[in-house]
């Protein structure tokens, strides 16, 4: 549906986004994960047609979008920013803002407003004004305001950053309900988040963004580092309290990824060729994606995620607090 092609976007000559191709297909549930400053918000603003890329093209339904996109096209997509802004007026007026712009008549507008307000648990707040709301409530109102216009593509930037658990599950439930409403084309949602667990729970597809580029590996264990020489063919990178050895000819600033599937998990150090042997304790265990094993998170001086089989979890008796050793080869670490 919406696609970026050969996009390079700069702010004051600084390259913030460099994407060969990025698409949000109709009906997709897409998560973009990455650190703060990885380019997520910029990516969403380009997809929302709020900014035109410095270089490259934005395509809608395969056709390139003009530098100044027509309003009718912009109305097919809407963005909720990480720190959304409510306009002057009540919550009710805010949720109905996009509907009024579209000339939706009063009764229909009220019906739709009440519907999304109910889904997001906002019915009690309809008469409040922005200064009477908490950050989490503002975020929910902004999501409701975006859902009310029934876009084809909904872009959410860290939509649960100010929300408690109940509010964020209300949000995901509301999204699911909206997606269940038959529409043509089906609602596509793209969420930027740094919360991987959330992303894994609901997204069909996860893309990792680091330093404005799509990361070639899964988004866990991504670190922004400074590479320093540590041997004839290895470099060392300080990550939190530990040093990770990497086989690379790169030096200086880089992004480093430890593929979770390449980490050996054991209860005691193994004698092996792995140059990185890190001791720590398990902090979390979570079922990974369907059919994809179990994600074991351990604090080994920094939080690392390893993917292992359910059998391995049983055999090693892995549970939060259990001592564990993570080992991986210097050549397994990806640098980009």
């Amino acid at each position: 549906m919406v696609e970026l092609r050969g996009v390079r976007h700069r702010y004051d000559r600084r390259l913030v986004l460099d994407l060969e191709q990025f698409a949000v297909p109709a009906g997709a549930m897409l998560a973009v994960v990455g650190h703060n400053g990885s380019g997520k918000s910029t990516l969403l603003r380009l997809l929302a047609l709020l900014e035109a890329p410095t270089e490259g093209q934005v395509l809608w339904d395969g056709r390139p979008v003009r530098h100044r996109p027509p309003t009718a096209l912009r109305r097919r997509v809407t963005l909720v920013e990480q720190r959304p802004m409510l306009l002057r007026g009540t919550v009710l007026e805010n949720i109905g803002f996009g509907l009024r712009l579209r000339g939706v008549d009063g009764t229909e507008a009220y019906k739709r407003t009440a519907e999304v307000a109910e889904q997001l648990g906002l019915l009690a707040l309809l008469e409040r004004r922005r200064h009477e709301l908490s950050d989490g409530e503002v975020q929910r109102v902004a999501v409701a305001r975006a859902l009310a216009v029934r876009p084809e593509v909904l872009l959410l930037d860290e939509p649960t950053s100010s929300a408690d658990r109940a509010a964020s599950s209300a949000l995901y439930r509301a999204l699911a309900e909206q997606r269940a409403v038959p529409s043509k084309p089906p609602l596509a949602v793209c969420i930027a988040s740094h919360q991987l667990e959330d992303a894994y729970r609901w997204a069909d597809d996860i893309r990792a963004l680091a330093e404005g580029r799509l990361s070639p590996v899964t988004p866990e264990n991504l670190f922004r580092v400074e590479l320093a020489p540590a041997g004839t063919d290895t470099m060392s990178a300080r990550v939190g309290a530990i040093d990770i050895l990497v086989t690379t000819d790169r030096a200086g600033p880089a992004v480093l990824a430890v593929p979770p599937g390449d980490i050996f998990v054991s209860s005691a150090p193994l004698s092996s060729s792995a140059r990185n042997v890190l001791k720590g304790r398990v902090t979390r265990i979570a079922a990974h994606r369907p059919g994809g094993g179990v994600a074991v998170t351990a604090d080994v001086g920094v939080e690392l995620v390893a993917i292992v089989t359910a059998d391995a979890v049983r055999e090693l008796a892995l549970a939060p607090g259990v001592p564990v050793v993570f080992s991986f080869k210097a050549s397994a670490v990806r640098v980009f």
Binding site: L50, E81, L87, F97, L101, A146
Partner: protein, 231 residues
């Protein structure tokens, strides 16, 4: 001090008696000020919005030019327009010199930089998310501008007040372009200057009080208008 007290007494008597000349001068001043303010704001506010929101080549230079024009001496504007509107000037054919329209043109030129520069500052002071919010919810160019203006309404009302204040209190252009002709182009400021120089302090003071009252009424009206609904 006696002459001051005497002046006040005279002023009060003139105002209470509803002196036709005072009323005529006040109404003409109000007409000129309102027309000039409306014209200056009709051009200046959109110009300020564009200066604040559009990125174009020469934008910084344009902002500097508008800010510099804020300090333009009123007599210089009067002088330049006098040259243009005088019989031998390029716009002499209009026959507008020494008419109230000429004063309006001068006042518009003086109030325009105020309207443009201050509204640009007002719009720049609006959270950039307001514009993005309006756009992403489907507002076109005009509705986006309207949404931003609504958020900046206090500052924009102050801009209109400042523009009105400039034209209502200005004397240089009014004197040079209007000529202070009794019954046709005599405004409150030119009349105050004339009667003071003629020694009719009471009349000058009465007109001065009317001028202050006019400014007060306009300010209060604008405040009442913007006070409706807050937050």
């Amino acid at each position: 001090m006696d002459f001051l007290a005497e002046g006040f007494r005279r002023a009060l008597a003139l105002l209470l008696s509803g002196d036709a000349e005072v009323l005529g001068i006040a109404l003409l001043t109000l007409k000129i000020a309102v027309v000039a303010t409306v014209l200056a704001c009709a051009i200046g506010l959109p110009l300020g919005y564009l200066l604040a929101t559009r990125r174009f080549w020469g934008r910084r230079a344009a902002l500097t030019a508008v800010n510099t024009a804020l300090a333009f001496p009123t007599v210089v504007v009067g002088l330049l327009l006098f040259g243009l509107l005088s019989r031998r000037g390029p716009l002499g054919g209009l026959g507008w010199l020494y008419t109230w329209q000429a004063i309006v043109i001068g006042d518009v030129l003086l109030a325009l930089p105020i309207a443009a520069a201050l509204s640009a500052a007002a719009v720049q002071g609006v959270d950039p998310r307001v514009r993005r919010t309006a756009e992403t919810l489907g507002a076109g160019r005009w509705l986006t501008a309207w949404t931003v203006a609504r958020e900046a309404r206090f500052a924009l009302a102050a801009v209109i007040t400042a523009a009105f204040g400039q034209v209502v209190a200005e004397i240089g252009a009014a004197m040079m372009l209007g000529g202070n002709i009794r019954g046709s182009t005599r405004t409150l400021t030119t009349a105050v200057a004339l009667y003071t120089s003629q020694g009719d302090f009471g009349l000058a003071l009465a007109l001065g009080l009317v001028l202050i009252a006019l400014a007060l009424i306009v300010n209060v009206t604008l405040q009442l208008l913007q006070g409706k609904g807050s937050g």
